[in-house]
Assembly symmetry: C2
Homo-oligomer: 462 residues x 2
């Protein structure tokens, strides 16, 4: 969107010309990297050109078929007026919040539909409203999804409108949470099939915050191009096999807000976010049998160890020749079954991080784990590489976060996977319903409130 | 990684049905994630199925049209025998090095051609040879490119075979280098259009190192799907406009090793790697005029400020109505022109990093930079967000790294861009020629040496 003085062409004209005569330009020596090989740079395919609707009953980025890249960013409202240094009143905080989600909603609508992000609040007019890093790129199924953290409602004086099931997650025994990666009053989840458009959208959202809110943490994840197959996590296992299918009653029951929630929250859901580090060297030096018994599935095709194919129901009672259950009772699959949730997780691989504490060996007690890989794997056993940070950004959309809590208590206690993972970040958000044309995210929250205030202000004639 | 009972359909049946009759399947609610929306998950397109050749005169990943994702990883040879704790002799180090590049080459050949990585050295047979995270994925133009650092040759007793132009880069006045992100005896550059296959290939390479070498640093970058257009960096500007085109004499002269290099290095090149942080909030709050004058080009279309289109040669003498050059003499473009190199850089966006020191304001002296954005941008001016780490992984393939050094001295001294960037990592590598079938990376180095040794061992009969 950078505007520059005196362009002889309108932007649209240039793009059209380029698209129409790319071949000719290449022949004329005008195109980059045209010579030498019979491969050409990746070109946007049909998929990349697709757009996801912004308006709807529910926010996009939940039931939306999972995109390949995601950035998650948590923000906190400013507590003081940055100009005067004075503490903000609840009313001021609420006004700031509404202004922020209005700006975010407007920009998100425009970006997801392939337009420029629109004017930037606070800035001088000569400052470009957009970074320009995605000029010429398609939306590539970009979605922007907003969530509200447990502390927000008190902050903006809306305690009574707070969704009933929204409260901070309890701590679990094996958690090694970093404050730097946890919590947050607001969440922005940006997903898309082009990481550069995702990065641009995140930057746009961030650029709307100064003076009103500040970035608390951000995380970014990816998936391979698995097409119709279930994506694999960094342990090589399929992740999301048991997800309910959008549009089914199972999905609606597992994900969308219950009937007893505040009216403004109808069509909403909750997002449980956990940053889970994976000890890849340890996993990679475990035997295939250990790996599969830890999960309870075969890595190769995702079938449960009780037999069948990926989508066969695990049979926890089926035993092998030794009389033991084929699926160990403390395997991950045995523990997590029957908990309905929509998992929409992403892999992450950050390289070395100074922040991250090494995954200690002290919780390494899983029965099936290998302990004898030290001798021929000196880097793993003794090396300084335990601060390597990769794993999964676990995301579960649920009707009730208490379901996750109940499950996590079980997992925390006995999951074999605990020998290979560590939860280092945690957050939970109420995800408001979708935006109606002309509205903004959580606008019903303000409508509801004004009604209430209006009702109070009116004398009753009962 | 969570489970629910009772899917009535087999996975394969569902997939087949979906591909054949997506509409009908959606109507029947039978396809994964089909409900409610008219979009489907991304499917591999023709691009993703492409493979790049592994064998050739030059290594792949240099003249190869730039892929969308890259991981750069530097390794150092172990100096002691991990089993005995004894310091390795030069001969032992050389043997370790050769064993490592043999294993790396074999795995790289297989992975880039869409096969499994092959057996893993050191490991017990029950340990899977592959992480499995890319099972079912296409190579997506995967390439693996290897480089050798300045310190390697002495370490393996091959000082006399060291490429003539390989020596550590000097330090520049404005460098703020982190040891953690600099140097390295060996480089592995993995590029591809699917980040998950790139991540898997990196992991495969890393898994071949224990006992022989250890990871020193790793970095990962991305580009948008710009198709035939020049990619944009995180300042929104096109990056790589002036690159020579593969297959032209200009390219060959700029990139491939000179005739006076050791014979084994014929067909090789050098890679200069710089991790360059960008101060995005500062950039984003500068005016469009400041941004363009800093670069010397219009962000919008990449044309030089002297006029024309992206590929027009910048005219440094052309002046505006005020009599001043349209392209400022200290703009980036004015300084970097006429330095022939193949830039193959990637954007990076790591979020907050504890390691990174904040970009200080002390080198903020560029004439054109804005200094008055503090008041309405409190987050930027006073916030704790300066440790946000994003920027560019600058990669230049050159015939002679001294060309880069000469350029960087100029830039370090007067580039307007210095107000917005900071070099925080630095490395240089000799990149051996391509691999012949049956050989491995740098195998000619060993052949050359054996010839030499053989010649020495033979009595001379003059």
């Amino acid at each position: 969107m950078s505007e520059k003085p005196g362009s002889p062409f309108s932007r649209r004209a240039v793009i059209t010309t380029f698209a129409a005569t790319a071949g000719a330009a290449a022949a004329a020596g005008g195109a980059l990297a045209a010579g030498g090989r019979d491969t050409a740079p990746a070109r946007p395919s049909g998929t990349e050109r697709r757009t996801e609707p912004f308006h709807g009953t529910h926010q996009a980025g939940i039931a939306t078929p999972q995109q390949r890249y995601a950035i998650f960013a948590a923000f906190d409202l400013e507590t003081t007026d940055p100009r005067k240094g004075k503490r903000l009143t609840t009313e001021q905080a609420a006004a700031n919040f509404q202004r922020l989600v209005q700006g975010w909603s407007a920009a998100a609508e425009r970006l997801t539909q392939g337009r420029s992000p629109g004017p930037m609040p606070f800035a001088r007019t000569e400052v470009p409203a957009d970074s320009g890093i995605a000029d010429g790129l398609e939306p590539a199924r970009l979605t922007v999804t907003f969530g509200l953290g447990p502390d927000l409602f008190e902050r903006i004086g809306r305690e009574r409108d707070r969704p009933r099931r929204l409260s901070p997650l309890p701590s679990f025994g094996k958690d090694r949470l970093e404050a730097a990666w946890s919590g947050g009053e607001m969440l922005v989840q940006v997903c898309g099939d082009d990481l550069q458009t995702v990065s641009r959208a995140f930057r746009t959202m961030r650029s709307r915050a100064p003076g009103v809110a500040r970035l608390r943490w951000s995380q970014q994840g990816f998936l391979g191009m698995f097409g119709d197959s279930t994506p694999r996590n960094l342990f090589g296992h399929k992740d999301g096999t048991a997800n309910p299918r959008p549009g089914t009653p199972e999905f609606d029951d597992a994900v969308w807000a219950a009937a007893d929630e505040p009216a403004w929250f109808s069509g909403g859901t909750y997002l449980v976010f956990r940053k889970i580090r994976m000890d890849l060297p340890k996993w990679d030096t475990s035997t295939a049998r250990t790996q599969d018994q830890t999960i309870g599935r075969r890595r190769y095709d995702g079938a449960p160890l009780s037999g069948g194919h990926e989508f066969t129901t695990p049979d926890l009672r089926k035993t092998g020749p030794d009389g033991k259950p084929l699926i160990p009772a403390d395997s991950h699959v045995a523990l997590v079954r029957d908990v309905p949730m929509l998992r929409r997780s992403y892999n992450y691989d950050y390289g070395f991080q100074a922040l991250a504490e090494p995954i200690s060996a002290e919780h390494d007690h899983a029965e099936g784990a290998d302990h004898d890989h030290g001798e021929d794997m000196p880097e793993h056993s003794g090396g300084g590489h335990s601060s390597y940070d990769s794993g999964v950004l676990f995301c579960a959309y649920v009707r009730d976060p208490a379901e996750f809590v109940r499950l996590q208590r079980k997992l925390d206690e006995s999951d074999r996977l605990n020998a290979f993972i560590q939860h280092t970040g945690s957050a939970v958000f109420a995800v408001p319903p979708g935006v109606r044309p002309g509205g903004h995210v959580a606008s019903a929250l303000f409508t509801a409130r004004s009604h209430l205030l209006a009702a109070r202000a009116r004398p009753r004639h009962g």
